[in-house]
């Protein structure tokens, strides 16, 4: 009992440590990879491979002036950046990183992930509103409508996986993929979830709430110092979260050939998807706001309903036979 409790705290500490370092390291990874794809070197001076740029960036963020605009709603303004980091870190509680590396083994794990991602919207909305700035407000309104509409079919796309494994528990979903990864029967669901996940983390094809070329910096235009840093880290944590959800739900989680332990497989697979996120940023233009909404409601939403319907029908037929 004692050792189990100690192990539990080790898992929580390990997960937090790895995640926060990953999020910081992603700053370097993203800048280097973007640079390589654009035929330049990127930050390569400080330390080995330029890795110390992370340290320099962090120190710079800490020492910047922490400015709260006099026209802002102070309490909400301070509170908003914390929401995104807290909600994303909470979602990691339900993700099984390995056979026994799991913080919360819940029977509503998947729903908890959806709930936390819908709470995460508040940081954009409140941050933009509290800044009391028209660009920030525009960004916040775009963010709210984008995330609400993409959340709907993100949930619907995930229901296909739930149907196949018969559980909301992510550990059970991973174990149900022992014979075949969910990517095979749920390819459409995977594509829809990937697109919705990019929109949920408002990363580059869908970074409409920020849209630096038209809205200055969107919802975080007024933020500086470590408050901006929280939004920044929250975004990278979100990328990691969506990547690890994709791995757990569609790519067999920790499963893989036995010469490597499960955690290593999980981390490797997750990094593949993180790199995909960065590649998408490097290669895709930003759509217009109305195009984004139309694409969501008129294409992806019906497709996810169709996916759900067909999956349910096939499962019923298989059961009959």
């Amino acid at each position: 009992m004692q050792t189990a409790a100690v192990n539990y705290w080790w898992v929580i500490g390990g997960v937090l440590f790895t995640l926060l370092n990953t999020a910081a390291g992603l700053i370097w990874l993203e800048r280097r990879m973007l640079a390589l794809w654009q035929d330049r070197y990127g930050p390569n001076r400080a330390g080995p491979f330029g890795l110390f740029i992370v340290l320099a960036d962090t120190i710079k963020l800490f020492f910047k002036e922490d400015w709260i605009p006099p026209f802002a709603d102070k309490v909400v303004f301070v509170f908003a950046p914390a929401i995104v980091v807290a909600s994303v870190l909470m979602s990691f509680a339900v993700i099984p990183f390995g056979p026994n590396i799991l913080v919360a083994d819940w029977n509503i794990g998947l729903l908890f992930f959806l709930a936390m991602s819908s709470i995460g919207v508040y940081s954009i909305v409140l941050g933009g509103w509290a800044s009391n700035n028209k660009y920030a407000l525009l960004g916040a309104m775009r963010g709210a409508s984008q995330m609400i509409s993409y959340e709907v079919f993100m949930g619907l796309a995930l229901m296909g996986v739930v149907l196949l494994s018969g559980s909301f528990n992510i550990r059970e979903i991973v174990e149900a993929q022992k014979s075949m990864w969910n990517i095979v029967p749920q390819f459409l669901g995977f594509v829809i979830f990937l697109i919705a996940g990019v929109a949920e983390t408002h990363r580059l094809p869908f970074d409409i709430p920020e849209a630096e070329s038209e809205l200055v910096a969107g919802f975080h235009a007024e933020y500086s110092g470590m408050k901006f840093g929280m939004f920044f880290i929250g975004e990278y944590l979100g990328v990691t979260l969506v990547s690890s959800m994709i791995v757990a739900l569609y790519f067999g989680g920790w499963m893989g050939p036995a010469f490597l332990p499960g955690v290593v497989w999980f981390i490797l697979k997750t990094f593949v998807f993180i790199s995909l996120f960065i590649l998408m940023r490097a290669s895709m233009p930003r759509p217009r706001y109305d195009q984004l909404m139309e694409y969501g409601w008129k294409v992806l939403f019906p497709l996810s309903l169709l996916n759900l319907l067909v999956t349910a029908a096939i499962i019923l037929i298989m059961k009959e036979a």
Binding site: I108, L114, A115, S118, I119, W129, M141, A144, I148
Partner: protein
């Protein structure tokens, strides 16, 4: 269990009080979100994890974001806090207070009458909720579906845009 319930309950009551008494509508809505979250915790404690998750996803996550969205569009908030202050005179409190006191008296009576809270908590998992929704309560589900369908059709009708024809010759012939 007991302590967690009382903490969550106290937060729910406090935040709901704050919802009513805030003049700044945005702050009131934020307290309402906190209230929903604490109700979700109570649901979870009393064996309804599915309801707890849905409370967060649907109420705190979706509906409140939509309401905040409209508050933002109408640019309410600190600008209208003065108006709210004018409207919310002490006299207005009399009616709701009397009604609440009646409810409180009823609650107190019930607590005194039978002091046995539900000790045997039955865990209601998602499957059980689904089975009862599509078994005995199918009629209610269908009716709610029809209501929502009517809402969607209405919203589509209101938000419909006529196709804009920018060419001057075509504009005359259409219409």
């Amino acid at each position: 269990m007991g302590v967690a319930f009382y903490i969550a309950g106290a937060i729910a009551v406090l935040s709901t009080l704050m919802v009513i008494t805030r003049y700044n509508i945005m702050h009131a809505l934020l307290y309402l979100v906190v209230s929903f979250l604490s109700v979700a915790v109570i649901f979870y404690l009393y064996g309804a994890p599915f309801m707890a998750a849905l409370e967060v996803i649907v109420y705190a996550g979706a509906i409140m974001v939509l309401i905040i969205f409209f508050v933002m569009m109408l640019n309410l908030g600190p600008q209208t806090a003065g108006d709210e202050q004018l409207w919310l005179k002490p006299r207005i409190w009399i009616g709701p207070t009397i009604l609440c006191l009646v409810l409180l008296a009823e609650l107190g009576y019930l607590i005194v009458q039978q002091s046995s809270p539900a000790d045997d908590i039955v865990l209601v998992d998602p499957k059980a909720v689904g089975k009862s929704l599509f078994g005995p309560y199918i009629l209610a589900v269908e009716l709610a579906g029809m209501l929502l369908m009517a809402g969607i059709v209405g919203a589509y009708h209101l938000g419909r845009q006529r196709k804009k024809i920018t060419h001057r010759f075509l504009e005359r012939t259409s219409s």
